[in-house]
Point group: D2
Chain length 353, copies 4
C-alpha cells in the first residue's frame, strides 16, 4: 500500500481528487490495503479444541436447550483469528452436534454442504432424501448441497458428532439458500444400506443408473472398512511424505472429491511417525479419531489426543507426529481443496523441516 | 437467528454456558447471525458510474500521480454496499486504468486474474508472457492467473480501459500471490498476433501443440470480429429471452469460460429491445461499449449510455432495455459464473416481469 | 446395392466406365455391397460352449502341448458366423486358458487388453507390472493394454480361466503391438494386495497419487466382495428391467469402464427371474459363474449352466431367464460398450418381449 | 504362428484334438495367424489418385448415371491393398462426388459420419438438419452421424467434391444404420449462415445454448478464413516438424475433434519445405487443395499436384516436400486419430529421415 506521502506531487490537489472520487463511489487503487502482498496470510489462527472440554459443554447445552429452540444443537468452533462471522478456518465451519435419546433434529435442506464424522453414540440415523444412514463412531455421513436431511437418536445414549460445512464459503459467495421440510422428519423411501450396497463396493457400480448429481451418490462411509484399508496400507506402502498413509473419501462415480466444495480425508500415522512439513493454499480441520500426537503449524505446537479437533490455516507450514511408539494414530480431516483446485488457485510446496 | 429470550429454560445457566463456550473459542449455533435466511441477499448494491464523471477524474489522476508512484494507475469502482474492502460486486473488482503517452505500467504477475476492455486509445500494448497484444477500443485482453504482464502506451493519446479482476474472490479465498518482474518491461519473445493467429480462427486450432493452461490460450479478442458476429446474429437468431444476442468469450481449447474464475460476455440489444427479467446467483459488472439504455435491478432503474459502467449484484431480478429505436446497444460484461458453476452453487430463475 | 440392369442408359458405355475406374483403383459407389442396410446385421451368431465339453479338451491340450511350445495354452472360442479370423463376437475374443501345476505362461505385453475370469483352481498368480494378483474362482483380473504380465501356477491343481481380449478390435484397427519380456517371469516389485488395498476400498482412494493410466488402477476384483454386493442388492433394489441386478466393474479413479475398450459386468438373476428383451449395438460374451438358465437371442434359445460360455451378437434382441426357482444365477459378461459409446455409435432399445 | 511341426509330442493325438476342437467351435490359439506380430502392418497400400484422371471419369459417370439411379453419384477411391470391401485406408472411405446443374442428391441420414471438401463448383448447398450450408472450393462441410442431409446444385456448372466417411470403421464395428427422408429434399428451417455465425466466430460462443451433440455444432468451415489463418501462421510460427503449419478443424464447443470418429486437418508447406518423417497408428487421406509436392511413404514416392488425392496407411513412415520454391502448398487431410486416441491405441514416433 502506497502512503500518501509517497506521492511527490501536489498533496492538496491529491486530496481534492480523493474527495471527488469518494463522492462518486470510486477510490485510488494505489492506496488500497487489500492489493499486493507476496503471498497469502490467513486471518485464521492455528487452534486446538480439547474433547475433554467440548464434551461437558455439549452435555450442558443439551440440558439447557431443546431441539424445539435450536433447530440444530451445535457448538460452533470459532477460530480465534476470525471475527464477526462463523469460521473454523477461512472457508470451513466445524461444530459439535449433540442429539439426545429420543430427539430429532428436524428436516431441512440448504445449499451449504455438510459432513458428519461420528464421535460418540450407539446408533441413530441421518435420513438423507428418504434413506436412513446409520451413524456409528468413526462413520462419515454426507448431507450434500440441497439434500433433505434430519437426524434421529433412537438409542438410549447421547449421540455426538463433528459437523463440517462449507458455510463460510457459501456465505462469502452469497449463495446460501435454506428451506424447511414440511414435517419434522422425512418419510423414508429407501431401505437402510441401499446407497452403500449400490456404490460402496470396491470398484463396482450399478450398470443401470448413472448418478445425476455433482456430489457422491455414496453418502455413508462406515469406519470399519475405512480403518481396515488404512491398516492394510500401513504395512504395504510408504504413502505421502507429508501425510503418511492418507486416503480421500471419493465420489465413486467420478473418482473425484465427494462434494464439489469439500474434500474429506483420513490418514494413519504409524507409531512414532513424523511427517515432513509442507504448506498449501487450503485450510484444514482435523479430528483425531484415535491416537495422540502433535502437529506443528508455523512454529506453533498443537498437541492432540483422542477426539480433539484442531485446525491448520491455509499457507501455513505444518507437519504431524504420532507421539505413541506402539499405536497408530488416525486423523480425519476436511478441506476446501476442491474449491481451490477448480479455480486453479491450489498451490503446494514443501516447507523446509 | 434465535434471540436469547426464545430459550425457555434458565437464562442464568445459559449465560454461564455461553461464557464458558466463549472462553474456549466456541459459540452456540442457535444464536449465529450468519446461518439461515431463505435466499441470499447480496451486500452489494446496484450502481452505475458515468463515463462523463470517470474520464476527467482519470485524466486528473494521470496529471497528479506517475507510474513510478502507482504501479497501476487505477480508479477503483467501489460498490456503495461493500465496506472495508475493494469490490464492484461481491467477488469482482472493476476499475478504470489510464496509461499516458510514453508510460509503462511495469511488469508483474499475480494469482488474481484480470481482463481489460479497452475504452479509449489509438493503440498501445499489453505484453503477456512475452507476446504483445494490441489494445484498440472494444478489444478484450486477458492477463490470467500468474501470467507476466506490463502495459505500454506507444501512442500520443491517453489509453483508458476497464479493468476486471477476481481480486475480491481470491482475497476471500486467501489465495493471493504477487511477484514483481526483474525489469520494468518484459522482453518480447513472440511476434504480435501469434496467439490470435493460432487460436482465434473460427473452429481451427494448432494440431501440433495442446494448451497446458487452465485459461484460454487466446488472450486477445479484437472488437471488429466480435461486433461482426453480434451484428450477423441479430438478424438470424432470437438469442436469449433474458439477454438478447449474447456471446461468451470462450477458451477455444475447451469451449468453456476463458478463465476458471471469470466469465466474459458481450451482448447486443436490438433497437427498442426489452429483455425479460431473471435472476441468478452470479454478480455482474457491465460496460456499455456503445448505445444507451436502462437496466432495472430489483426495482431500481440504472440508465446508461456510451462507456458507462454499472453492476448487478447476485440474486437480484434484472432486465435490460435499449432506449434507442434505431441503433443497437452493445454491452460487455463479466461475472463469477464459472466459480458458482464449478462449485454447484449456480442457480437461475425467471423473475416475473 | 444397385444392379447394373437398373441403369437405363447405355450398358456398353457403362461397362467401359467401370473398366476405366477399376484400372485406376476406383469403383462406382452405386454398386457397392457394403453401403446401405437399414440396421446392422452382425456376422456373428449366437452360440453356447458347454463347460463339460471345454474342460476335457483343455486338459487334453495341457497333456499334449507345453508352455514352451504355446506361449499361451488357450482354446479359442470361435464364433461359427465369423470366418478367417479369431472372434467370439465381432470385436471380442474369448478363450479358455489352462496352466498346469508348476507351469509359467511367460511374460510379455501387447496393445490388445485382456481380462481373466477365474473358473477353476486353488490359487496361482498373474503378475502385472511387478505385482502378483491372486487368482481364485470368480475373481476378475485385468492385464490392460501394454502392461507386462505372466501367469504362474504355484498349486498342485490345474488352473483354468476365461480369457477376454479386444484382439479382434485391435486387429480391425491395425493397432496391435507385441513385446516379449527379457525373462520368463517378471521380478516382483510390489507386495501382493497393494493395488487392491489402494484402490479397492469402497469410496476411498490414495490422496498422494493419481493414476496416470487410462485403465483402472485396480486390477483385481475378488469374487467374495462381488458376490456379497450382488446378494445385498438382490433384496434391496429392482435393478435393470433388462438385466436384473447388474454391476459394472469400474475404474475407481474415474467411475468409468475398467478399460477403454472393454466393459466388464456381473449380474444376478433372482430365482425364477425373467428379464425383458432389449438390443444394443454392443456384442457380449457371457460366462455363467454359477446357476442355470436360458437366454433367448433373436428367437434362438441358448440354455446354460455352471461355467458355460455363450455370446450374444450386437443388435440382437435378447433376454435371460433363471431356470432355478430357488437359487440365484450369476453371470459375468464383457462387451465393447466403451468403444461404441466413445465413438457415439451406441444405441439401445427395448425389443418387444 | 506356431507350425504344427514345432510341437514335439504326438502329432496324431494333436490332430485328433484339433478335430475335436473344430467340431465344437473351438481352435488352438497357438496356431492362430492373427495373434502376435511385433507391430502393425496395414493391409492398405500408399496410393495416389490423379485429378486429371478422376475428373473426366466423374463427368462421364454424370453423363451415364442419374441421381434417380444412384442416390449418391460417387466414385469410390479403392485402396489397392484392401479387397472385398470399400476402403481408402483401413477405416476410412473417400470418394469423388459429382452433382450436375439442377440435380439433387436426395435426403437421408446414416450413422456413418461424413465430410465434404469442395473441389470444384460455383455454389450449391448441402442442407443439414434444415440449414443450407454453402459449398465453394476449399470449404469443409460436415454431415455428422445421423444428421439429415441432401445436396443441391443450383448453379450452371458441375459441383465436384471429396467425400470422406468413417464407413469402413462403422461397418467393422457393425453399427451402420441408414434412413431415407420422407421427401427428396428437406424443408429448410434455418437461414443460411446461422451455425457459422453462432459458432464460427473465433473464441465466441452463444451463451444461451450449449450444444447437445457429440459432434461440432459448426458444420461449415469456409476456405477463405482457413487459408488466411494458414498464411498468417506461416510467417509467425514454426509449426510441427513433421507437418509444417497444421491446423485441426475442431469442435468449438469442446476444442476436440469435429466428429468423434474422424479428425480433419489442413496444412501449409512453405515453398521448398521438407518435413521430418514420422509414423503413427492412424491412417490418413490427403487432398492437395493447391500446390505440388511429393510425399514419401515407407520408401515409396507419391508425387501430387492440384486436387490430387493420396493416402498414407497407418504405421508407415512418411514425410512431405513442397516441390515449388515460390508457392506454398495446401493439403487437406482426414484421419481416424480420434478413434485411436479414445481407445488408448494412438502411438506416434519419429522415423529416422
Amino acid at each position: 500500500m502506497l502512503q500518501r506521502s509517497d506521492i511527490a506531487s501536489a498533496p492538496a490537489e491529491l486530496d481534492a481528487l480523493y474527495h471527488s472520487l469518494e463522492a462518486r463511489a470510486m477510490a485510488p487503487l494505489w492506496t488500497a490495503p487489500d492489493v499486493g502482498g507476496q503471498e497469502p496470510r490467513s486471518k485464521a489462527a492455528p487452534h486446538r479444541w480439547r474433547w475433554q472440554e467440548i464434551r461437558p459443554l455439549a452435555l450442558q447445552a443439551a440440558a439447557l436447550v431443546g431441539t424445539k429452540q435450536a433447530e440444530r444443537r451445535v457448538l460452533r468452533l470459532m477460530n480465534p483469528g476470525i471475527s464477526g462471522r462463523s469460521g473454523t478456518t477461512n472457508t470451513l465451519f466445524s461444530g459439535i452436534q449433540i442429539v439426545m435419546p429420543g430427539e430429532v433434529a428436524r428436516a431441512h435442506r440448504h445449499s451449504p454442504s455438510a459432513l458428519r464424522l461420528v464421535i460418540e453414540g450407539e446408533g441413530g440415523y441421518t435420513n438423507v432424501n428418504g434413506e436412513p444412514l446409520p451413524m456409528l463412531p468413526g462413520d462419515l455421513v454426507l448431507t450434500p448441497n440441497w439434500t433433505w436431511h434430519d437426524h434421529t437418536n433412537t438409542t438410549a445414549k447421547p449421540m455426538i458428532w463433528l459437523d463440517g460445512l462449507d458455510l463460510p464459503l457459501v456465505n462469502l459467495l452469497e449463495a446460501a439458500f435454506f428451506e424447511e421440510y414440511s414435517a419434522e422428519r422425512q418419510e423414508l423411501s429407501e431401505a437402510q444400506g441401499v446407497s452403500l450396497a449400490l456404490h460402496g463396493g470396491g470398484g463396482l457400480q450399478p450398470a443401470w443408473e448413472r448418478p445425476s448429481s455433482r456430489h457422491s451418490p455414496l453418502l455413508h462411509y462406515p469406519w470399519p472398512q475405512t480403518k481396515a484399508s488404512l491398516d492394510r496400507l500401513a504395512g504395504a506402502t510408504a504413502g505421502s511424505p507429508f501425510d503418511g498413509v492418507i486416503l480421500e473419501y471419493v465420489n465413486p462415480a467420478t473418482g473425484g472429491p465427494c462434494m464439489p466444495t469439500m474434500g474429506c480425508f483420513v490418514q494413519l500415522l504409524r507409531p512414532g511417525e513424523r511427517t515432513r512439513a509442507h504448506r498449501h493454499t487450503t485450510g484444514t480441520v482435523y479430528h483425531a479419531i484415535q491416537g495422540r500426537g502433535v502437529s506443528e503449524v508455523d512454529g506453533q505446537e498443537l498437541d492432540w489426543a483422542d477426539k480433539d479437533v484442531f485446525c491448520v490455516p491455509g499457507w501455513t507450514a505444518h507437519h504431524h507426529r504420532n507421539l505413541s511408539n506402539t499405536e497408530p494414530a488416525y486423523l480425519f480431516s476436511f478441506t476446501d481443496a476442491p474449491v481451490l483446485r477448480s479455480l486453479d488457485l491450489f498451490r503446494e510446496e514443501p516447507a523446509g523441516d
